[in-house]
Amino acid sequence: MVWGCRPILLEFSQRWGNNLSYGTEKEARAWLSAEPQANALRLVLSGDWVTSEAPELDAALRGVKADKAQTIAFDGSKLTSLDSVGAWLLLRSRKELIESGHTVDAFVLPPAFAPLLETLERSEQASKVRRRPPPPKRNYVEAMGKGVIDGLHVGYSVFAFLGRVTVETMEAVVRPWKELPWPAFIKQIEETGLNALPIVGLLSFLIGVVIAYQGADQLARFGAQVFTINLLGASILREIGVLMTAIIIAGRSGSAFAAQIGTMQVNEEIDAMQTIGLNIVETLVLPRVLGLLVTLPLLTLYADFMGIMGGAMMCYLDLGYTFPVFFRQLDSAITLNTFLVGMIKAPVFAFLIALVGCLEGLRVERNAASVGRQTTRAVVEGIFLVIVFDAAFSILFSVLGI
């Protein structure tokens, strides 16, 4: 009697005594049928015992219950094909049956499959298949302690890097003809400064437009629309100009630094530089830090100008103030200090962005996922630090009364 279903598991043990075969009638390519005899069990294998049939065959072999039978025979003489997974399944169940105290008195396979079986048996002796170990249980106290220690290590390495970069930067500033790699420095100025002009200019202009429009809308309720210009001048020059530029550059150049240096880390280029005796900080970090120290203040100046121009255009369109009117009012609204308060922050932000970008790049491990992770961190940490330091500056200036 042939009896098929899919999947088949436990019915076999319940219907002990029947001849059962496993697999579906329609699409199955491999079959296992168990023929119980007195004190013996004959397992007849037929069809294609190949990888694609493995889930069903695995279940069928696991479903074989041979408690009452003492000797077991494997008859595979009708097998049409057998691959490594099929053969391994057979060897596995033979081994398990022997381990549970049964005798396997026959293991017949077509001679064509002998080399495969031999290879598998030989390697099988080397070690035995084990299950994947369960994931270790999380100990929260331990995890917390580990987190703190890791955090301290990172903090230490950040300070060490900061110190080293500061020393090298100072040396380069004091003796630029000797310490500074000029070609790389100029290239960084082009990449981080010149090439960023369109995006920084456009976004600053639009921010100027937005501030002017919102200011005019609100201040007109008090008839004080002329103070839109004061609002615009103070906010762009003191805060928005430099903050917007720093955030754009953190996204644009901080990520580029991390990805460039990180990819060099993956390609072992950093290792090669070290063995040649190049100073990593001097060749890779310094041009980027100094380049950004030059370009970010210049970009801020440009962003201030574009923001004011955007505001001036909106004031003309919305409130009808011509340019001479606009600039006369602007002149009375702001002092040189307003502009300097914004500009003084630019080099600090530049240093932070470049430092974080390079540091995260150097912390990349040798795999593809790590480059992406550290690049993301470079941007996130860069923007975070820029905003934190901006707030710190605000507090400082308010204490100083500027």
């Binding site: 190949v50 990888t51 694609s52 493995a54 889930p55 695995d58 691959d83 490594s84 997974v85 391994w88 596995r92 080399p115 495969l116 079986l117 031999e118 290879t119 598998l120 390697s123 099988e124 080397a126 070690s127 298949v129 084990r130 299950r131 994947r132 170990p133 491990e365 040798r366 795999n367 593809a368 996922a369």
Partner: protein, 258 residues
């Protein structure tokens, strides 16, 4: 079955032309790979060994010509047919090309997950079996590729290539960068697996010892086309490059050992 296909051939290439700009790499190249044989591809730098391999496995679209793999024309295939044929071959790239974010076991399970419906537990067991099959210790299963040496990476890459028990195995410089002991172990491994799994092997290599130890026939890329034969047949070929290759000092040394 497409026109004129031959059941005894695993790969049939006809009139293959590959150009890069004005530079022609292959000029109407013909190649037959028989089922069950180990074919070695040799040739100087820039003769297009890798381009030939990439053309056959569909990573490079040839400018002209017809390529048939396991009886199927690969040029006009849709996505689904390509997937079916891809499950019947395995490729070992030069550096192993293991997925760096996954463990070795997960690497081997990628094709299993893609093409079969195995349970996670069964996949773990099969992955372990494949590791043992290529001669790696079981504890490599939980390691990541960056923790393995070059030779172990190649073995792990081979285990992934063999995950689905393919009929056809492509090897790109399998022994490059291995020490002589590992290289000859790898040769032995390929011979064993080829015999026991009844594989057809298409191997790009520079290693004369590998050619002698494993290959049934050798295809030499010269003059933008191919000369094919056993080592003995090729030794009689008067072409200067082939003479330099097999009868040069290294060639003679490798052949004498046989």
């Amino acid at each position: 079955m497409p026109h004129g296909s031959d059941q005894k051939l695993a790969i049939r290439v006809r009139g293959l032309v590959n150009r890069f700009g004005t530079f022609t790499v292959h000029d109407h190249l013909d190649l037959d790979v028989r089922r069950g044989e180990v074919l070695g591809i040799v040739g100087g730098s820039g003769t297009g060994k890798s381009v030939l391999l990439r053309s056959i496995i569909g990573l490079h679209k040839p400018d002209e010509g017809f390529i048939e793999v396991l009886g199927h024309d690969t040029s006009g295939m849709d996505e689904k047919e390509m997937r079916t044929i891809q499950s019947r071959w395995g490729v070992l790239f030069q550096e192993g090309a293991l997925f760096s974010s996954q463990t070795i076991a997960e690497n081997i399970e990628v094709p299993l997950r893609q093409y079969t419906k195995m349970s996670p537990h069964l996949m773990d067991e099969v992955a372990a079996m494949k590791l043992i099959l290529v001669g790696l210790p079981l504890d490599t299963a939980m390691k990541t590729p960056s923790e393995l040496s070059g030779g172990m990476k190649k073995r792990a890459g081979l285990a992934r290539a063999l995950a689905l028990d393919p009929e056809l195995l492509f090897l790109d410089e399998p022994t490059a960068g291995l020490d002589p002991i590992s290289a000859s172990q790898f040769d032995q491994l390929i011979t064993d697996l080829q015999r026991s799994l009844n594989l057809t092997v298409f191997m790009v290599t520079h290693d004369l010892d590998t050619l002698r130890a494993t290959c049934d026939r050798i295809a030499v890329l010269v003059d933008k086309t191919i000369k094919i034969g056993t080592i003995e047949e090729l030794l009689k070929d008067p072409h200067p490059w082939i003479q330099d290759y097999f009868a040069g000092p290294r060639g003679r040394a490798a052949l004498q050992r046989s």
